[in-house]
Amino acid sequence: MSLSVPHALAVWRRNASMYSRTWKWNILPNFFEPVLYLVSIGIGLGGYINQMGGTTYLVFLAPGLVCVAAMNGASFEVTYNIYVRLVFEKAYDAMLTTPIEPDDVLAGEVLWAITRASIYGGCFFAVVAVAGLAPLPSALWVLPLIPLAGLLFAAIGIAFSLRIPNIDLFSFYFTLFLTPLFLFSDVFFPLKERLPAQWLWLGEALPLLHPVRLARAAFRGEASLILLWDVFYILVVSILLLAWARSGVRRRLTN
């Protein structure tokens, strides 16, 4: 194990320096998106739905979308943006002339992806809260959950990014992996009420399902044992994928 936290933070600082140049313009769209979703689907579509999962459709929808925002924030960072830094900006070539090691790069990038997930998810949550859809204080449990979802999708995205030879393949990741997750992970309807019992295990395999279930529980202020499984899933999958990614990052950055 050769992780040095100060060096990982230096990697994180590089990304933060670049982001802070343009943060005003980067952060603005994060507020429009939730408004558009909540108005279109929550109010527009929701107008035809009396209730879902025991609440109005708008209230049902909000926590899941917060998680989706976190997922997207992390995913963009560890796919397109890491690829740009690796291939076009050659940032890691410069880092590896200093005491920074590949493990520090991995940790710094994951931390940065979590940061971006937190910005995305946090903005979404702020809009939801202002719209009165987040019962306080219990909904505040979402705040630690957003970086956790960021960690999960950073780990999955990095594992995928390390395997692909060129940037064009990222669109498969988005259309064939993230989009189905978005549509089928309890965000728009309770999956377990629509899925035949013998297929429920498949639903449990979907990564996004777990943060969404946790977020919804936070909004409702209801704790249950299954939430432990959700946290366990997120942590174990993240740790396993990141452990596996270590050798891949080393292979990509050194030869």
Binding site: S2, P6, A10, R14, M18, D93, A94, L96, T98
Partner: protein
């Protein structure tokens, strides 16, 4: 020795990039690594700072095994990569700040050091403009400035002056000499033989991953070619006529229609050429033999001895 390579080999697939290469770089000198494109210079440098792992052989830097101590070694050296790695959206000052943090420099030391390298490489005039708006020469100087942030004991420069105008190149040489005078060991690659000759205390000529010659430039020149060179334009037929029966062991280098002769004393040859030319005043260049001649003699294919 600051850098010591022993029988180091590296292959990429079935291409052997570095072939049982051995090298010693003593402390406090400027050492030049010369060689044609693809000779394995960059690969050798990457192995020295530990991002390329040799297939066999041993590498010590500062007396430490680089494969076991990459962090400790890299903390003490600086590298200017062959291609600039700069953050184009940020200013030179911000680039230096980001890079200084890779070395864990903290305020106020970080800002102080940024000021020093900006002064040293004369970056002050554009220190607050985005890098993408700066000229290529300015960007190159910034890339070199980055590698000085940690006050390296060993400075590795991979073709530092490619693309620089003559004035900037001269200024850079004098900066490199200043660093050397202050005790920094410099390991530099270049394709400019005049640069190597003027700047380097020792050079190694690398060919197909092997060191074919190593030593002070003056010694290399003396060991391989006579000290005076005569250059002129003439076809191979004309050349035979000019030399008619003379100088059977004369060393020459021909590239297209340009031929260079190497001799201990140029005067008799010049006289003979003038005689054979019968009044026609053919332009001749008479100059001291230089490192470029040696480089071409060792790496080129068109050098022959005799007629």
């Amino acid at each position: 020795m600051i850098v010591q390579l022993r029988a180091v080999s590296k292959s990429f697939g079935d291409r052997l990039a570095v072939d049982a290469l051995s090298l010693d770089v003593p402390a406090g000198i400027c050492f030049g690594l010369l060689g044609p494109n693809g000779a394995g210079k960059t690969t050798t440098l990457r192995m020295i700072y530990g991002v390329t792992r040799p297939n066999s052989g041993a590498i010590q830097v500062f007396g430490l095994d680089i494969s076991r101590n990459p962090r400790a070694v890299r903390a003490r050296l600086g590298v200017t990569l062959q291609q600039n790695v700069l953050i184009e959206a940020l200013t030179p000052e911000e680039n230096l700040r980001v890079f200084g943090r890779y070395h864990l420099l903290r305020e106020p030391e970080l800002s102080r050091r940024i000021g020093e390298v900006i002064d040293f490489l004369e970056l002050g005039s554009h220190a607050k403009m985005p890098v993408r708006q700066l000229s290529g020469g300015f960007q190159r100087r910034l890339a070199i400035a980055l590698s000085l942030m940690n006050r390296p004991e060993l400075l590795i420069l991979d073709e530092p002056t490619t693309g620089l105008d003559p004035a900037v190149r001269l200024a850079l040489w004098s900066r490199i000499r200043e660093l050397r005078a202050a005790g920094t060991t410099v390991l530099v690659t270049t394709h400019y033989m005049d640069e190597a000759q003027r700047l380097c205390d020792r050079v190694a000529i690398v060919l197909a991953g092997k060191v074919v010659e190593e030593g002070p430039p003056a010694d290399l020149i003396a060991a391989h070619l006579a000290p005076e060179a005569v250059e002129l334009d003439c076809s191979p037929d004309e050349e035979a006529a000019l030399l008619a029966g003379d100088s059977p062991s004369l060393r020459r280098l021909r590239v297209g229609n340009r031929v260079t002769f190497y001799l201990d004393n140029a005067a008799p040859l010049i006289e003979q050429i003038r005689r054979q030319d019968r009044g026609r005043h053919r332009p001749l260049v008479v100059r001291p033999t230089n490192l470029e001649d040696i480089f071409l003699a060792l790496t080129g294919t068109s050098l022959e001895a005799g007629l």
